[in-house]
Every structure is written in structure tokens, then in C-alpha cells.
Amino acid sequence: MTASGSPQDRSIRVADLSHSYGSGPDRLLILDNISLASEGGEFIALIGPSGCGKTTLLDILCGIRAFQTGSVTLRSLPPREGREDTSRMFARDALLPWRTAASNIEFALAARRRDVDRKGIIDKLLRDVGLEGFGDKYPSQLSQGMRQRVALARTFSLESDFLFLDEPFGALDAQTKLLLQEKLLALWEKTRSTVVLVTHDLGEAIALADRVIVMTARPGRILADVRIDLPRPRSVSALQKTREYHDLYAELWDKLEQATSGAAGNNRENGA
């Protein structure tokens, strides 16, 4: 949809990325030599123990955080906050409470896509996330799950080539989460943008992603990069009943345990 550069290029390239916080003896290595490439149109999930630097990596991709060594590009260009071809979804809905559901989506559209039929896009997206008729409700009048659905609609309204999702369903109960995951997949199947999802939920990573990247505890390294070859379009609830899903879950769970147990030994010696 975006007209700049080569529109089909949705590639992400991260090469030899290292980043640490602080300086001197307090220096804390967060990301250790991360390399990761995607030709684009891929759904990538980042998973790992707390403090493994997955959020830092996402922040770097979003252009919020400057990094120290290595190179990072989205469509051959360095990341920058507010880049027109990216959008970001937050763990909490980040809806503006003084705007209605529809007006929250419009807020994003007005910032990025002025020359479109905003009302048409908003109505369609509200329908897609199952909130038809709720457009004039304020966030305080909606449940947590409904608010996050509005946030989902807002994120997809931008039709960005790169989506960065920071534990978007972390605060929801299991049932609502499942519903939202289905909505996310349905919206994504249509756009096939490049998605980087940070999550704590292994089941979510498998159900949604094409690739699950398991990171080690601090300093964050890539421990495993597992391709999820489950057919699309997927149904999250149906998937959870299949054998392949459970095999992948067991396989990744082992890796995650490995990642976590590595933490004890690694934690103290990262000043090096």
C-alpha cells in the first residue's frame, strides 16, 4: 500500500546487534550478537525468559532505542520512531479515553493516511473485530477485551508493512485472549505485513507465528529459531487440539527451559 521505495520489500535485517545498559563496572549486556533476517511477510514471535532483552530488541526495531553495535534495517532503511511504514501495538490498549472507539482509530488514520475514506475504513475494521455498533462508545464504557480489539483495529487501520506487537494480549483472560488472537490472525491474513510479536505465551507464539525465536536469559542471544509449518489460515482454538501443535509446544518448552536455566550461570559474568 505504501508508495515509497519498493513497496514489496518488507524485509527485516538484524546483523551482529549488541546492546548494553549503563557503563563501566555497572555495564549490563542486554543483547549479545543478535542476527536475524526475514524476507518479509512473515509473522515472527520473540519469546524468552524475563529480562532476556526481547522488549529491548523490539524497541530497537521500532526506533525508540538507539543501539550500540551492529546493524538493523527495515526495508534497507534504519529504524526510526514514527516511520510511516511501521505501527506499534501496546500491552495495554493505549486508547485515548476522551475519544470514542471510532475516534481512536481515526486518530491514527489522521496522523498517517489523510487521503482515504476514514469512515469507511473505521466501519469495516470495527466490523472485522466484532465491534459493529460500538464505534461511539468511550473506552471507559468498554471491557478490557473490547478495548484491546479497538487497539487492534487501530493498529491495522494503518496498513503498515511492519507491525510491532509488544505483548498485546498479556493482560487478558484466556478466553478473551483466544478471541483476540483469532481476530489478529484474520486481519493479518489479509495484509501479510511483517510482524514481530513479543510474548510470554508459548502457545500464542506457536499458534500465531511462522517463526518462533527463543532467546536466552540475559544477555539475550538467539537460542533457537523454529519454523512453525502449520497450514494457514489457522484457527487458534482448532489448532490447540492438534498433535503437531502439542509436539511443537513440547519442543519449544524444552528450549525455553534451557534458556531459563542458562540464566543462573550467565547472570554474574556479563560485565565481560
Binding site: 514514527g82 511501521t86 476522551w98 496522523a111 471491557s143 477485551g145 473490547m146 478466553q175 478471541l179
Partner: protein, 269 residues
Amino acid sequence: MSATETGASAATTAGTDWSRTGLIWILRIVVLLGVGLAWEIAARSGVLPAAFIGQPSIFLVKLWTMFTGGSIVAPIVDTLSATGLAFCIGGVLALLSALLLTVFPLAREVLQPFIDALNALPRVALVPLFIVWFGLGLTSKVVSGVSLMYFILLYNTLAGARSVDPDHRALARSLGLDGRRIFTQIVVPTAIPAIFAGLKLGLVYTLLGVVTAELIAGGKGLGSLVSYYSNTYDANGVFAVLVVLIIVSFALSSFMARLENHLMRWNQN
């Protein structure tokens, strides 16, 4: 589609229990009548000197004749117009100052201790000086009101502008909004509830500032009337005017509350 989730629309405000509300109002009236009756009995029986504490039956009649005879109208208009003027001037000055101090953080850092010091100063103690500077008329009353209004609204607005949700700021930045648009579309709306709280509180305090100036300077307002009655040892006159002041103050704050409810429908849970 989960039925549990869509059913959760929060339209619960209609669930007010009317019989409970009625009971509360009845009990309030009982409390008011009880206090009034005790007061009346204390004054009549001579347990407390009626000349000092007044007597509800007398000052309520006096209050009634003040309204029916129209003698209270001019003082009310006088006090209210000074209050209104002080409220508007103080409000505009406070909002402009808050704007400048938010847009220029350096100015805020430099000026903050001075603002804090002025705010810590009991402004009421300055009223005699205001009268010396601005005379006995309207100006000193308005300045007295402004001196209270200004700081209340300034503090509330600054606090409101600083309470921006980091997620909202992050969202705006991720959408590529520049500083000016973040200010108008995120910071200002965030500050609105705090600004309203400041306006509500400020209005009552402006009235206080005006009445204080009237108490000291005399003139035609309600404060001057209180001062007159108390100087002539007319306790019933003082209480009659105090009741008027309570009514005026109450009317002003409920007006603000209504305006707030109307303008901030989104802020109701």
C-alpha cells in the same frame, strides 16, 4: 464470539438505589433540623447567650425579609460580579502561565521555587496591602480573588499536564506526531479533568478571596454586610448573610459540576 465479553459493556451507572438515596436525604434533613432545634433551644433557654450565637428562628425570618424586601440582591450582585471577574482573569492568567511553563520546561524549572513560595504565602494576609494598592473598590476585591484563583488553577493544570500516560505519548510518537500535535492532542486533553477540578475548587476560593476583601474594605458586597452586622453585634444578621453565602457558594459549585459532567462524558465510569 464470546458472549461473556460483549455483555460486559459498563452501563452500570443507572443502578442507583433510589430508596437508599431517599433515606440519605431524609437523614440529612433530620440532622439539619436537629442542629437547628438544639441551637434554637440553647438560645431561648439562655444556656448560651442569644446575643452572641444568634437564634435560627430570628435569622431565618431576617433572611426571608432580605430576599422578599430585595435588600440582599445588590450585595449578591456586587459580590458575584467581583467573583466572576476574578475567576475569569485568574483563570485565563493561570492557563496562559501553565501553557508557557509546559511549553518551556526551562522556564518552569527556573520559576518553580518562586511560584511555590508565592503559593505558600497566605494570600488573605495580603488583602490589606491590596486595599492600600488598589483602593477600597472593585479592583482590590478582584485582585484578592485572582490571587487565590490563579495558583489553584495553575497547580492543577501543571499537574494535569504532567500526568500524561507514557503509553499515549509512545503511541503518538509511533504515529509520527510532532511535539506541537502531541501537546494539543495528548497533553491538553489529558490535563482537562485536572483543569476542571481546579476551576471548581478555584471558584469557591475566589469567592472566599472576594468576601475577605469585602470584610476588610467594606463597600456593598456580602462580606461588607457580614462586617457591618458583626460590628453592630447583630449575630442574627451575620448568620443570615452566611446562609446567603453558603447558598451562593453551593450554587456556583453545582453549576461547575453540571458543566463538568456535560463536557466530560467520557470520564464517567
